[in-house]
Symmetry: C2
C-alpha cells in the first residue's frame, strides 16, 4: 500500500463568499498596470517593450510575489488517504467525512516528483486556471477578431503565398523541429542527461507542431503603428493567422496518431490516417464556421425583406451576431473539430457577408465589441503567461532541452521562410525581397497559441518539460524579437514613415490610399488563379445577392426560369444599392472581373458601378486594431435601414 500525503487547505467558511474575487482582482490589477504602461509608452514613443511584453513582465513579477511572499499555510496540515478501490481517476468523487458527504471535482493529475513542491500553496493553485478557459473563452475573441478584421483585398492578392507559408511552411517547420528535437533527445539520453522516459518521435513531432504556431500580436501591432509596407504586413498577418489554425489541427492530428507496434517505427496506415484526420478536421471546422456565418447572414438579411427590422434593435442584432459567432466555435469543439479554425473562418465569412447586412449602429458596435474583447483577452493571456512561470507547479526545466528547442525553432523558421520564398518568387511578379524575407524570419514570435496548446496537456513528464520549454521560448521571442522589431525594421530599411512624423495622424487612411494607388503595380500573375476567379464569379453572382444586399440582383444572374424564386430571394435594396458594394475590394483586376462576369449578366453592369466600388473600398475596409489611432468616423446614415423603394427596378 502506497503512502500518501494530504495537502489540504482548510475550507475557510469566512472567505468562502469571497472566493475568486482576490484572483480576479489580481488580474484586474495587472491589466490596469499594463494599460497605464501602454499609455506611458505610447506617450513617450517608446517601442522597445511592447504592451504584450509589458503584460508578461508584470505577470512575471506578480507570480514571483505570489510564490515567494505569500504564505503557504496548508503545507503543514498534511496527512492523507489511500483509495484502494479506485481504479482510475473519476471526474467526480463523493466522500463521506464525519457523516457528511462532500463532492469533489477532478482537477488534474500530479506527477510524483512534483508532489512535494509548492503543492500546498492555495494561492498558487487558485492562480493556475483551467486550460479550458483559454480555449473556450480567451482564444475565440482573438482569433475571431483576426478573421473579422482581415483586409480582404490585400489578403486575396497574396492568397497563394499566404497559403503556401501557412500549410507547407507549417508542415516543414513541424517536421524540422520534430527531427532536431528527436536527435537532441537521443543525444541527451546517450550522455545521461535524460532518463529512460518514453520520448517517442511522435512526442517530438507534437512539440514541433505546437511550436510552429507563430503569434501575430506583437509584431503586427508594431507594424500597424509604424505603417509598414502593406504587402509585408498582409503576408505576415495572413501567414500567422492561418498558421495558427494549421498548427492547432496538426497538433490534434499528431496526438491522435497511434502506430500499432513500435512507436518509433513509421506506420504508413497510421500516418495516412493522421493526414486524413488533418484534412477532415480542417474541412469540417471550415464548414462549421462558415455555415454559422451564413446562418447569421441569413437572419440579418431576412429582417429587411420582411416588415420586421432586426436592425432597429441594434442590441439584439449585436447579441445575435456575438452569440452565433461564439456558437460556431463551441459547436466545432463539441463535435470534436477545431473551434479555432471554425471561428477564424466564421469571422472571415461574417466580415464578407453579414457585415454588409448590419445596421450602421451594429456595424460599429460589433467592431468595437470585438476589438475590446480582443484587447482584453490578449492582455489577460500575456499576463497569465508571465504568471505561469512561477505559479504553475509542475515545471521541468531542462537547460539542454530548452537550448535544443531554441535552435530547432530558428532552423525550422529559416527552412520555412527562405526556401518557400525562393519558390514563390519564381511565380510572383512582385518578388518578396531579401529584406522582407529577413523580416519574416525575424517575426516568427511564439505566443498565445503555442502556450495554450502546451498547457492543454501537462499530465506526463515529457509534456511538462515541453510546456516549460514552450513558455520560455515565448518569453524569449516576445521580449527579444518583439522588442527588436523597430530596430530591425530600421536596419532592413523597411519602414515607410519615419518615427516622430505625426503619430496622431490617421495612418490607416494613408495606408489605404497609398495601397490603392499601388493596386495595379502590385498585381501578380501567380495569385490571380483561375480557381479563384471562378469562386469570385460564383460568389458575386449568387452568394452575395442571396446573403447580402450587395451584388447584382439574383433575377439578372440566375437563368430565366428561376425568375420567380430569384425575385423572392432578392433584397429590394440590391437593385438600387449596387453602388455601395464595397466588397469588390478583393478584385484582382477590374478588367478580369468584368470579362468573367458579363457573359451571363442580363443587365450590363453600369459604368459607375466599378468606379463606385473602388471609391468604396477605403470606407468599407475593416481596419484592424484601432487601438492607438481611433480615427474612424462615427457618423451614421440611418437611411441605410430603410429599403430604398424608389430605386426598385
Amino acid at each position: 500500500m502506497e503512502k500518501l500525503k494530504k495537502y489540504v487547505s482548510v475550507k475557510d467558511e469566512d472567505h468562502f463568499y469571497h472566493q475568486g474575487a482576490v484572483e480576479l482582482l489580481i488580474f484586474n490589477f495587472l491589466l490596469i498596470l499594463t494599460i497605464l504602461t501602454i499609455w506611458l509608452f505610447k506617450n513617450h514613443r517608446f517601442r522597445f517593450l511592447h504592451e504584450t511584453g509589458g503584460a508578461m513582465l508584470y505577470g512575471l513579477l506578480m507570480g514571483l510575489i505570489i510564490r515567494y511572499v505569500t504564505k503557504s499555510p496548508d503545507v503543514e496540515s498534511g496527512t492523507v488517504y489511500e483509495c484502494e478501490k479506485l481504479k482510475s481517476g473519476p471526474s467526480t468523487l463523493l466522500i463521506n467525512i464525519t457523516n457528511q458527504v462532500y463532492e469533489y471535482q477532478y482537477k488534474r493529475e500530479i506527477s510524483h516528483h512534483n508532489v512535494n513542491g509548492h503543492q500546498g500553496n492555495a494561492m498558487l493553485q487558485k492562480m493556475t486556471f483551467d486550460p479550458s478557459i483559454f480555449f473556450n473563452i480567451l482564444l475565440p475573441p482573438i482569433i475571431f477578431h483576426a478573421g473579422y478584421s482581415l483586409k480582404k483585398r490585400h489578403f486575396f492578392r497574396n492568397l497563394g503565398s499566404i497559403l503556401t507559408y501557412a500549410f507547407l511552411g507549417t508542415a516543414i517547420s513541424c517536421i524540422v523541429i520534430g527531427l532536431i528535437m528527436y536527435g537532441f533527445v537521443k543525444a541527451m539520453v546517450h550522455i545521461g542527461q535524460l532518463k529512460q522516459w518514453e520520448f517517442h518521435f511522435t512526442d517530438c513531432l507534437f512539440f514541433g507542431s505546437l511550436m510552429s504556431a507563430t503569434d501575430p500580436v506583437t509584431v503586427l501591432a508594431i507594424f500597424h503603428e509604424l505603417n509598414v509596407d502593406t504587402d509585408l504586413y498582409t503576408l505576415l498577418f495572413g501567414e500567422s493567422v492561418l498558421n495558427d489554425a494549421v498548427a492547432i489541427v496538426l497538433t490534434h492530428s499528431i496526438s491522435i496518431y497511434s502506430p500499432k507496434e513500435n512507436p518509433n517505427a513509421f506506420d504508413a496506415a497510421a500516418f495516412f490516417q493522421s493526414v486524413g484526420n488533418f484534412l477532415g478536421i480542417f474541412a469540417g471546422s471550415f464548414a462549421m464556421g462558415s455555415s454559422y456565418a451564413v446562418v447569421t447572414a441569413l437572419i440579418s438579411f431576412m429582417h429587411l425583406t420582411k416588415f420586421t427590422k432586426l436592425c432597429e434593435f441594434p442590441m439584439l442584432e449585436t447579441g445575435l451576431f456575438f452569440l452565433l459567432s461564439w456558437s460556431a466555435f463551441l459547436s466545432a469543439e463539441a463535435a470534436g473539430l477545431t473551434g479555432i479554425v471554425a471561428v477564424l473562418f466564421c469571422g472571415v465569412t461574417q466580415a464578407h457577408y453579414t457585415y454588409n447586412n448590419l445596421s450602421p449602429d451594429s456595424k460599429m458596435r460589433t467592431k468595437q465589441l470585438f476589438e475590446f474583447m480582443n484587447f482584453l483577452a490578449e492582455n489577460v493571456i500575456f499576463c497569465y503567461m508571465g504568471l505561469a512561470l512561477f505559479t504553475f507547479q509542475n515545471h521541468i526545466f531542462n537547460p539542454l532541452f530548452i537550448f535544443g528547442a531554441l535552435v530547432a525553432v530558428f532552423v525550422a523558421r529559416a527552412s520555412n521562410i527562405y526556401p518557400l520564398s525562393f519558390l514563390l518568387n519564381l511565380g510572383r511578379k512582385q518578388k518578396i525581397s531579401r529584406n522582407f524575407q529577413h523580416m519574416m524570419m525575424f517575426s516568427g514570435l511564439r505566443g498565445a497559441i503555442a502556450f495554450a496548446l502546451a498547457i492543454r496537456d501537462t499530465d506526463s513528464q515529457p509534456k511538462q518539460m515541453m510546456f516549460t520549454t514552450a513558455l520560455l521560448i515565448v518569453f524569449f521571442t516576445v521580449w527579444v524579437f518583439g522588442g527588436g522589431t523597430t530596430p530591425m525594421l530600421t536596419w532592413l530599411q523597411i519602414r515607410l514613415v519615419p518615427v516622430g512624423v505625426d503619430p496622431d495622424e490617421d495612418l490607416n487612411a494613408k495606408a489605404a490610399s497609398q495601397s490603392a494607388s499601388n493596386l495595379d503595380k502590385n498585381t501578380t500573375k501567380a495569385e490571380s488563379a483561375w480557381l479563384f476567379r471562378i469562386w469570385y464569379g460564383f460568389d458575386h453572382k449568387y452568394l452575395k445577392p442571396l446573403l447580402t444586399h450587395t451584388g447584382p440582383p439574383l433575377t439578372s444572374t440566375l437563368p430565366g426560369w428561376c425568375n420567380p424564386v430569384a425575385r423572392l430571394l432578392t433584397s429590394p435594396r440590391a437593385y438600387g444599392d449596387q453602388l455601395k458594394d464595397g466588397d469588390t475590394d478583393y478584385i484582382i483586376n477590374n478588367d478580369e472581373l468584368t470579362e468573367n462576369y458579363e457573359p451571363s449578366a442580363h443587365i450590363p453592369v453600369p459604368a459607375q458601378d466599378s468606379t463606385g466600388s473602388i471609391q468604396a473600398t477605403g470606407k468599407e475596409d475593416i481596419q484592424e486594431g484601432d487601438l492607438g489611432l481611433g480615427g474612424y468616423k462615427l457618423q451614421l446614415q440611418h437611411t441605410a435601414c430603410q429599403p430604398q423603394k424608389n430605386s426598385l427596378a
Copy 2:
C-alpha cells in the same frame, strides 16, 4: 464505519479536450432562442411574456430535457470510499489511484437524503455552475449598469422617498417575512409537517432579507417601452436598485448575527453588533465604490491637463474604465464588504464625474459596452434560473412552506408600500397617488438578486428549502406579475402613451422633454432638503472642478490664498466649458442653486450658463436600456478632445 457509494463518471480522455464547450453551447443556444423570441415579440407587440420570462421558460424546458432525456451513464458504476482520517472537507484533495496522484477540488456538500437522486448525471452536475460566477461575473455588470444609467435629476428629486422605501421599507419587509415565516414554521412543526430541523428565528429573518430584494428588470423594461409616468418610473427604479443593495447587506449581517446562548432569544448585544455591521459594511462599500470612481475620474482628468491625452486612445480609456469599475466590486468583496453596493455607487459616481471627462468616442463605447454586458448577463441569469429548477440536485419542495412564503412576501410588500406611502405623502407636495401605490405593490417582483443570495448557501436542509422556495417565488412573480404589468397599467390608467401609436419613435427624447416641462410643477418641498443643498454646493464648487472639466474654475470658488494650488488643479477647459455643464440636471430649482452658489463666486455666473445647462440636460442624460429604441445619435465632436486654448481666461 459508514457505507458510501461511489458515483463516478469515468474521465473520458477523448472528451477531455472539449470540456465546457457543450455546456457553454447550451447557454448560447438558449440565449439565441431568447433573442429571436424577443425580436418576434417586439415585432408583434406582444407584451404578456417579457423577455426575462421567455428566457426563464426556455431554461426550464432545457432543464427538463437535460434531466429526463440525457442518459446518466455513471449511476451504475457506483462503488465508494470511506476516508476515516479526514475531519473536515478540505478544499483540495490529493488521492493516489493505481500509483498516480490526482488532484480533486472541493465542489459542495451533499445532503444524505439527496445522494440517491440524479446524483450520477454528469450533465446535470456540469450545468449547475459555481455561485461565485454569479457574484463575481454576472451580477456586477447589471448593478453597475443600473447605477451608470440612473437618471440623476429625477432620482434626486425623489431621493427622500426612494431612501425611505429602500432602507425602511426593506427592513420592514425583512422583519414581516421573518415573523410570518417563523409562525408558519412553528405551526408546521406542530402539525408534523416539518421535522425537528433547527429552523431558528434568524433563519427566518435570513429568508426574509433575501426575499426582500426586488428585481427591477422586467417591470422597468416594460415601463420604459410604454413610456410610463417618469416619477413612478424613478420611484420604482430607485427603490429596486437601492433595495437590492440594502437586502444584500442585510442578508450578510444576519448571517453573521450569532447570539451567544439560545438562538431564538433576543440578544441585545448581538443585535446591535449586527446593526453596526450593517452600517459599517454599507458605509465601507459605499466608500470603496466611490473612491474607485474618483480614481478613474482623476486618471481620465489628468490626461487633458498634461500633454498625454488618454482620450486619443479610446480603447485604453474604455479598458481602464471597465477594469477600475470591476475592481471596485472585487476589492470590496476581497475586503469582506459588499461588492454589489460598491459597484452600484461606483456606477453612480462614474456617471457623475468620469463620464464628463471621457472622449466622445469612449462615452459611447462605455455606454454600449455596459448596455451589452447588462443585456447578456441578465438573460444568462434568467435562463439559468429556469435551468436550475431541474438541474439543481438538492431541491426540497415543501408546499406548505412555499405557500407561507408567498403569503409572507405579499403581506410584507403591502406593509412596506402602503404605510410608507402614507407617511411620505404627508411631506410630499406631489402626492404618490393611490394608483401609483397599487402599481408599486404590484411591481414587487423577485429576481436575480434573491436567487443569487439563496443559491450562495445551499449546504444545509433549511437553506435548500429556502432556495427552492425562492426559486419558485421568482418564477411566479416574473410570469404572473411581469406578464400582468401591461394589463395592470391599463386598469390603473397609468400609461401615458397608448399602445400602438408609434413604438419606433424615440420615446426617450419625448420623455425627457416632457419631464423637463414638468420640472417646476413637480418640485416637492420635502425633497429639496438643506442637507442635499449643502452637498450640491460643495460638489459643484469643489469636487466637480477638481474631478471634471465642468463647473466653475477652482480659482473662483476657493479662497484667495489657495489661488496657486487652484490654478494648478483647474482644467483649462473649465474656464471655457461652463456652458457644457450638463450635470446641473439634478438641480431642484435654478433659483435655489444660484442663491446658494453666487455669494462665494468671484466671477458672476453669466446668464447663458443656466440656460445652457437646461438645454444640455436632454443631451447629457444617460438613457437606460436603449434595447429596442437605439435612437441616440452617433455623431461625435472630435473637438472636445483638444483643450480650447482660445477660451483660457
